[in-house]
Symmetry: C2
Subunit: 355 residues, 2 copies
């Protein structure tokens, strides 16, 4: 039996976005939040109607990690749904809370949609927030088949991709690919605080990329890191050790140790899935110089469209000073000649694309 009625508890960005996605699929959605304003706003956004105790097929608990357990216990007492899932970015602690509070674990499927956004709140919600994103589901031994089926259906209705993984493995995974990298980006950015402006006037795109996520909300990230402290600490220790070794290798002139780290970095980078799970480096890059004026990108992409070339990715490389930038367009290697030719035909300066 599919999901006909869903309950969303916590109408923040994630909860409201899921509610909007379910509404688009014709599911009856009921909304609940301790903040009456948030519920009203979510209702006004068309995310559903306020919950007044209706029984539902599935309840999505979209509250902060430390509140998941008690909210689950309360909802199960009320018999709010046949199955329950949450969206906490860490899984071990909420599951432990649920056990401690005597929740029924057969109807609970721990979950985590990986839909990172800098913004928050129902106003930032969108039905397509989860489109094509991974959504981890972490069933345990006790998890019932019916609950897991309903949770999977929720993920599919939201347009996300189910990644089934154990809770502990999930927490180690997000420590590795998200939480620890955030701390590292913060440490690199922190090394820029204080000191003069001359060094920063020599900064390029690489530094901006490495430090971009360091702009995230510190209070929010303290919570996230606190909830996954040990796995994150483990990854940070390994990275700190690599950096300390690199520093001493540089001091003692052991260049091959430095080379080894750089090579391991190339290998690791190559393992990161790019768009559509294809490795990023499978694309060739075509560069073109842009003037900084309205319509420049439109002209560029019109030329690309005439060549019937699909731009897989684009990066605008900015620089302090003159109002120009370099657009780096990633395309399928076999399309580079076609695109470069078309752009040159339309008067763009396109340097030779290296083999």
């Amino acid at each position: 039996m599919p999901i006909e009625k869903a309950l969303v508890v916590g109408t923040g960005l994630i909860g409201t976005s899921a509610a909007l996605a379910l509404r688009e699929k014709g599911v009856a959605v009921y909304l609940s939040d301790v903040d009456a304003h948030a519920v009203r706003l979510a209702c006004e956004l068309g995310a559903g109607q306020e919950w007044i105790g209706e029984e539902t097929d599935l309840a999505l608990i979209a509250v902060p990690p430390h509140l998941v357990g008690e909210r689950l216990a309360g909802l199960q007492k009320e018999g709010a749904a046949r199955a329950y899932t949450d969206v906490a970015s860490v899984k071990a602690d909420p599951i432990a809370d649920a056990e401690r509070l005597g929740c029924d674990l057969t109807s609970f499927v721990p979950g985590h949609p990986l839909a990172g956004r800098e913004r928050s709140g129902p106003a930032a919600a969108r039905a397509d927030l989860f489109l094509g994103r991974p959504w981890a589901l972490c069933p345990g031994n006790e998890t019932g088949a019916d609950a897991l089926r309903l949770a999977r259906e929720l993920v599919v209705l939201c347009g996300a991709n189910v990644v089934t993984v154990g809770a502990a493995e999930h927490d180690s995974a997000v420590a590795l690919v998200s939480h620890a990298p955030h701390v590292v980006a913060s440490a690199v950015a922190a090394s820029l605080a204080g000191g003069g402006d001359v060094p920063l006037s020599l900064a390029g795109q690489g530094l901006r990329d490495v430090t971009r996520i360091a702009a995230g909300n510190p209070l929010l990230w303290r919570k996230i890191l606190a909830g996954n402290a040990l796995p994150v600490a483990g990854v940070l220790d390994r990275i700190a050790a690599d950096l300390a070794s690199a520093a001493s290798a540089l001091r003692s002139g052991e260049w091959d140790d430095v080379l080894d780290l750089l090579r391991r970095g190339v290998d690791g980078h190559g393992r990161i899935p790019g768009k559509h799970s294809g490795p990023v480096r499978d694309f060739a890059v075509v560069q073109v110089v842009l003037r900084d004026r309205p319509g420049e990108l439109a002209r560029l992409f019109n030329a690309a469209e005439l060549a019937d070339v699909n731009i897989e990715d684009i990066r605008l490389e900015h620089s302090t000073g003159l109002p120009v930038g370099v657009a780096e367009m990633s395309v399928r290697p076999e399309d580079t000649g076609k695109l470069a030719e078309a752009l040159r035909f339309h008067g763009w300066h396109v340097p030779p694309v290296p083999r």
Copy 2:
């Protein structure tokens, strides 16, 4: 007296690009390289003619850092130019070599154009490689006024922005904003090598940003790091110490120490100049969902052009799975309403832009 004749020694990416820029400005350019093929290719690209000993106004020495000193000594013996400058990414060692070899330091202006590209060789050269980029000049006490004037003129002719800075300060600066961040990105990427694929299936844009530069050529970067070893080691030690402290703070639950690092990261990130020296965060972000098909970006930017809104920056946020992406367009805050309205009018889904 302005630059009428220039000599470019070393016709790789940097030398050939500078030669092309000078040619566009009507400067007579002579080319020299130990690799006869490289010279011929540069000539065929229109970068100038092969040097056979003509006297010139300025010689640009675009050879690897460890060869700058001896090349400078040789050229000065031949009286090849009135002034000399180089492009080495580190400055202290080449200057020390020049002194050791008894070069005339009054006619030598150490320089470093910050035009980062993954590619190399004359085939990748472009006259606009330096457009709007910083170009460090590191005159010493001995540097003559005429030589400095000619070096500045070269930078201006290449369309770059002069950043005058002492050699030692330059090397510390690039260690801070370029060399150390590269090693850190490698260490984060290296932490992904080995292990299963599940963690990587949960990777998002943030990890791709942090590790992008880790894809750089390890042999090239070993050279760069070896040439600036001590300043880089100093920065790496500070970052490693911050990460080790964060790890132990996470283990002992000292969340405020973690918060302090995150806050210092936000401060440091805010100091990085964005496009046109304006801080990146001065722009507001408008998001829109893209289908993965040719012409999609053209349609998007046509709509933006009709609204007469200038896209300051764009980021395509990809995700494994469905063929869709989210385009995040940075625009001046006062343009967000206008752009969102125009995009919605043309049928795009644009979520509310948070204040």
